[in-house]
Amino acid sequence: MTFFSFVALSDGEISALFLSIKVAGVAVLWGLPFAYFVALLLARGHFLGRGFLNLLVLMPLVLPPVVTGYILLIAFGGNGFFGKFLSENFGISFAFHWTGAALASGLMAFPLMVRPIRQVLESIDEKLIDAAKSLGAGYFTTFWSVILPLSVPGILVASILGFAKALGEFGATITFVSNIPEETRTIPLAIFSFLQSPNNDLQLWRMTVLSIFLAIIAVFLSELFTYRSKNNQRKYHD
């Protein structure tokens, strides 16, 4: 056995890798605008029910993933209220489909995406916003010209953390959309499948190393951006 054949991924493994990247990518792209909006409400909004919204956002972090998956199944499954509505009106179906895996992993990653955006929004100096107002900028212009550009570091960190989390999501995904090869079998689900049958040690190791590798890259990038944005702020406050 040559070294190449030792590290070369099988078709099933390659499909799991690309499916994972697709699922996590879609989860982050769709999740980010919602996460930004919620972070904006939590960081700068003053309204009744702010505490409740915060609690709701944190739920996927503390609930057993299987419960989140089950709730998704009830709400977005073929017979679920939202599932029916979306498939009848927009032709989008989630049940046993990779889009369902994206929804499940996006929801599980949501609290991790809201947090860094919220932090960067809270760190924006209120005085800068006063300055913008005194220069004639209205609420929306202040948002586009000051708040959004200054929250870019938080958005980057949120994307990286969210992507990493979505790549690794297991419980809610398998509960919601099952473990279908080339449709919903992402890397963690593939690892789970390899574990279920004997003589798969090689594949198991390859997938495990791949997961660790992706996780390290994600954490490194997110730390880098966090460090950079903190550095920028320090410079500004001096």
Binding site: D130, A131, A132, S134, L135, A137, T141, S145
Partner: protein
């Protein structure tokens, strides 16, 4: 014309501030917590006073009786903050033009190139604010406020974050700006020299109330007490015109009315009056014209009024050809000399104690 009459409560602090000023630069002076910034915030619209009105050059900013309150971005206010508050993510140029591209304001009569030249900003238009020094940031911030085509400039201790060197660097820019643009300015400062230098009207504020609001020459001598850590003796401002330089001794002769005063500095010849600041404890009085003194400045004055200053001293208010001079002497000396109102005396002022602003 600035016409402010506002009152309200803010936390545990209640204020009732009313004054009018038709001068170019109106200074607001008082201890920290006297409510100086509250006035500027009310003018800018960041704070809504409970009662009263604010009119700037005939435009009503707010009037609670009419239920009128102009929104913050519709008030044409150029605000210069103590911390420059430049937007860190955009270039100096974009900061300067922020009110145009974000605020949709036309710059009106104020041309971009003129402001850039006036404030000396040519060299850092492309740079990010982070790379500027404190003084440079503040110059950009003044330019940004000017370019928003304001009807009034609000300056909240614009120089207090800077060291002495940087202050004196910015001062000429501030003067040039005030000279070039016909805008009313509300100027807050802890520094009496800055106030004396720039302001022509002064509002003295204490605990949210106006103590006095009048020409700076009238209000300035009333300032006494502990401000920003230093004990401030009363001092007066005297306008004096240039007469001649004496390069040999490095002194300059100035004229106050018909009398001469000498200052230890070579001042440039100028049409405009110089402002001199003289503290009351540097002025001595003499009943007859003295001879053989080291003191160069002997000016004939008339006694106008006296004020007790503590147990042992008396402040004598003097008329120096229409301008106010003040001498702080001991009560003992006051009684020995038996000074009377309307009496002519000679005031002795050490040249080195005369500060030229």
């Amino acid at each position: 014309m600035i016409d402010i009459d506002i009152s309200g409560k803010r936390g545990g602090f209640s204020y009732r501030v009313a004054f009018r000023s038709s001068k170019r630069v109106t200074g607001i002076f008082g201890r920290s917590g006297a409510g100086k910034s509250t006035i500027l915030e009310a003018v800018s619209g960041a704070l809504k006073p409970e009662k009263g009105h604010i009119n700037i050059n005939g435009v009503c900013y707010c009037d609670h009786l009419k239920g009128h309150n102009l929104s913050q971005q519709k008030r044409r206010v150029g605000y210069v903050f103590q911390d420059a508050r430049l937007f860190p993510h955009i270039s100096v140029q974009s900061n300067l033009t922020f009110s145009r591209w974000a605020g949709r304001r036309s710059s009106g009569d104020i041309a971009f190139d003129d402001v850039v030249a006036l404030l000396g900003l040519e060299d850092f238009l492309e740079r990010k604010p982070d790379s500027l020094s404190g003084g440079e940031k503040q110059r950009v911030s003044i330019g940004r406020a000017l370019l928003s085509n304001p009807h009034i400039l609000l300056m909240d201790e614009p120089l207090s974050g800077l060291d002495y060197q940087r202050k004196s660097e910015i001062m000429p820019y501030l003067e040039a700006m005030i000279k070039n643009y016909d805008l009313p300015v509300l100027f807050i400062s802890h520094d009496l020299n800055e106030i004396a230098h720039l302001c022509s009207h002064l509002v003295l504020l204490e605990k949210g109330r106006v103590q006095k609001s009048d020409d700076i020459g009238i209000v300035f001598p009333l300032i006494e007490g502990r401000f920003a850590g230093n004990y401030q003796l009363p001092s007066v401002l005297i306008k004096a015109s240039f007469q001649k330089q004496d390069a040999v001794y490095s002194i300059t002769w100035l004229k106050v009315g018909t009398q001469k005063i000498v200052v230890p500095d070579l001042l440039p010849e100028s049409e405009e009056d110089h402002t001199l600041r003289i503290e009351a404890d540097n002025v001595a009085l003499c009943l007859s014209k003295p001879e053989g003194l080291t003191i160069q400045n002997v000016l004939k004055v008339e006694v106008m009024d006296f004020r007790r200053a503590g147990d042992s001293s008396v402040d004598i208010v003097l008329n120096l050809e229409g301008q106010c001079l003040m001498a702080r002497i001991t009560r003992k000396a006051f009684e020995d000399l038996d000074l009377k109102k309307g009496q002519d005396v000679y005031s002795l002022i050490k040249s080195v104690a005369v500060a030229v602003l």
